[in-house]
């Protein structure tokens, strides 16, 4: 049922408005459109949100969580890569909570913004396609001990998003 979250998208803030004091909204790191959620078009499980952009290395890639958090930034690729350079080579920004949950953002291009930083929706790089990618996009994933959580997002494939669009809610 790959269209499931279309309904959630239609009722986005209903699903997303954090109700607990420790809940956070997640917004798009840049303007673009949702290219995959729980499943790819092929039917392969994805369990995360991909947001693609028509241009590479133009927009800064902001951290998506609406809160000041410490971000652990890992650089595996230093060049400008837009269409992928192999699995495992993606640049990553992640925040790990103390109960095994981790929020990860992948595929951006390294810039002078790319370092461990504590910030609220700051840029950690430029939009790109490092790692396993067929085009410039951001992969937003929330997992617990490596198990993907699919209940946090409520955007649907094809949906246009900008930096004020709530993609989901975590915690």
């Amino acid at each position: 049922m790959r269209n499931t979250t279309k309904m959630l998208a239609a009722l986005t803030s209903l699903a997303l408005l954090p109700t607990a004091s420790s809940a956070y909204s997640v917004r798009s790191p840049f303007p673009g459109s949702v290219t995959a959620t729980t499943y790819y078009s092929s039917g392969t499980f994805h369990g995360a949100v991909d947001i693609g952009a028509s241009s590479c290395n133009y927009w800064g890639a902001e951290t998506g969580v609406v809160a000041t958090l410490s971000w652990d930034v890992s650089i595996r690729t230093t060049g400008v890569v837009c269409n992928g350079n192999g699995s495992g080579n993606q640049n990553e920004a992640k925040h790990a909570w103390s109960d095994g949950y981790t929020f990860r953002q992948w595929h951006w291009i390294k810039t002078s913004d790319s370092y461990d930083r504590t910030c609220d929706r700051c840029q950690v790089g430029n939009i790109g396609g490092t790692g396993n990618a067929t085009g410039p996009h951001a992969h937003l994933q929330y997992d617990r001990y490596g198990t993907n959580v699919t209940s946090w997002y409520s955007v649907s494939k094809g949906q246009s998003v900008n930096r004020s669009t709530d993609v989901g809610s975590i915690r």
């Binding site: 049922m1 590479c56 800064g60 990860r104 790089g125 490596g146 699919t150």
Partner: protein, 405 residues
């Protein structure tokens, strides 16, 4: 895999029925999309003057080896480091007369007065409207009932605000309001997207009585529920987490989620049902353990099997669950499911799982380095699995975190 455990075939994705409600959902989504993009578009003419940029211009970025129009031609477009893109911010608007709106709006005037704001695309003011509506409803069951009446016919963008306001109001916890919300959520005469919204509002409940659980479970696993079945599953999980947090009560919810995990024909709903317990961390009794053990070996989706391995890590009987993992590992062909069995053995039994993990690493030598990683961490004195997980040299030794196409 035991001979009596015939794997369930993965849902035939290409042949999955197109949901009857899909067109409606698309229409609703499109309506919201227009609303969401509206603000963006509205602002577009002034974007250049309002964007605050620091550092270099896009033209400078292009010098790093890439013009953004030629985006996707080659893999590495420039070896050197890219120039950081300038910051671009979108500021929300200020609304003239909102102060008077706030001071004078009543439940009776809310819909009429809020209408101009709904179409603005301003997310911040929508949040305000929802919060203000929650205040107007307060703890008044009659007012909540009135909002529920509106929810029967309100258009999509308004429905979202109405139900969000109800969700955040104190009245949503009143028995008569909760009962009506439940009834409407399961009312087949309402269109699917409306029921979806109502089910989301139902997530606010702190407890479900057995009769409600039974109805929601049946609804969640029923293929005819479509996407609303997915939302019902999420609602079951959310209320379980809240009830567990407040009272420790998980068993009835877990039974429901297990039923959906095992019986829904929809792979995505089964996966959701398998992962919702992650938010409540229930300790599994013997019966639940056996049900998850069955899913571990019979679920056709490898992601579902990984989730079942995760759930089993909190089984009460540690020795038994280690046996289950040990037995499942050689029969399992997928490396990501094997990785789940491997790491969740550690979550189940800590360093006492090391002999089982060592055997797994003998069966599949690709696990030798990660076994040594676990061994090193436990030898250092770390006992808490949460810290073990954070101490691993890599949390993704087999490339399973990113489910590549």
């Amino acid at each position: 895999m035991p001979p009596d455990s015939v794997p369930r075939a993965e849902s035939p994705r290409a042949d999955r029925p197109v949901r009857r409600t899909a067109w409606r959902v698309v229409a609703l989504g499109a309506a919201l999309l227009v609303a969401g993009v509206g603000w963006w578009t509205w602002r577009a003419p002034s974007v250049a003057s309002e964007q605050h940029t620091t550092g270099s211009s896009p033209a400078v970025i292009a010098q790093s080896g890439e013009t953004h129009h030629s985006a996707a031609q080659a893999n590495t477009l420039a070896e050197g480091e890219a120039t950081a893109a300038p910051r671009r911010f979108d500021a929300p608007p200020c609304w003239q007369d909102l102060e008077r709106f706030n001071a004078e709006v009543t439940l009776g005037t809310f819909r009429e007065w809020a209408a101009p704001l709904l179409g603005s695309g301003d997310a911040l003011v929508r949040e305000y409207l929802q919060a203000r509506l929650a205040e107007l409803i307060g703890r008044d069951a009659a007012k909540a009932g009135e909002v529920l009446d509106w929810a029967r016919e309100a258009p999509a963008d308004e429905l979202e605000v109405l139900l969000s306001g109800l969700k955040d109001s104190e009245a949503v916890h009143l028995p008569q309001v909760a009962a009506r919300l439940t009834a409407m959520s399961l009312d087949a005469s309402l269109d699917a997207e409306r029921r979806t919204g109502l089910l989301l509002a139902l997530e606010t409940q702190r407890h479900f009585e057995p009769a409600v659980l039974t109805r929601l479970t049946a609804f969640a696993k029923d293929p005819s529920s479509g996407e609303a079945g997915w939302v019902a599953t999420r609602t079951l999980g959310k209320v379980m987490a809240e009830d567990a947090r407040r009272t420790g009560e998980v068993r009835p919810y877990l039974d429901s989620l297990l039923t959906v995990s095992a019986e829904s024909p929809d792979e995505q709903i089964r996966y959701l049902a398998l992962t919702m317990p992650l938010h409540a961390d229930p300790v599994l009794d013997a019966k639940s353990t056996e049900r998850y053990a069955h899913i571990l070996t019979s679920e056709g989706s490898e992601d579902g099997r990984q989730a079942a391995a995760h759930d089993l890590s909190l089984a009460e009987d540690k020795a038994h669950v280690l046996e289950l993992y040990a037995k499942a590992f050689p029969a399992e062909q997928n490396v990501c499911v094997r990785w789940a069995l491997f790491r969740f053995a550690a979550r189940a039994a800590g360093r006492e799982a090391l002999p089982v993990m060592a055997t797994m690493a003998l069966v599949d030598p690709r696990f030798q380095p990660t076994y040594q990683d676990f061994e090193r961490i436990y030898a250092s004195g770390v006992v808490d699995f949460e810290r073990v997980w954070l101490s691993l040299s890599t949390q993704d030794p087999f490339g399973c975190l990113h489910h590549d196409e």
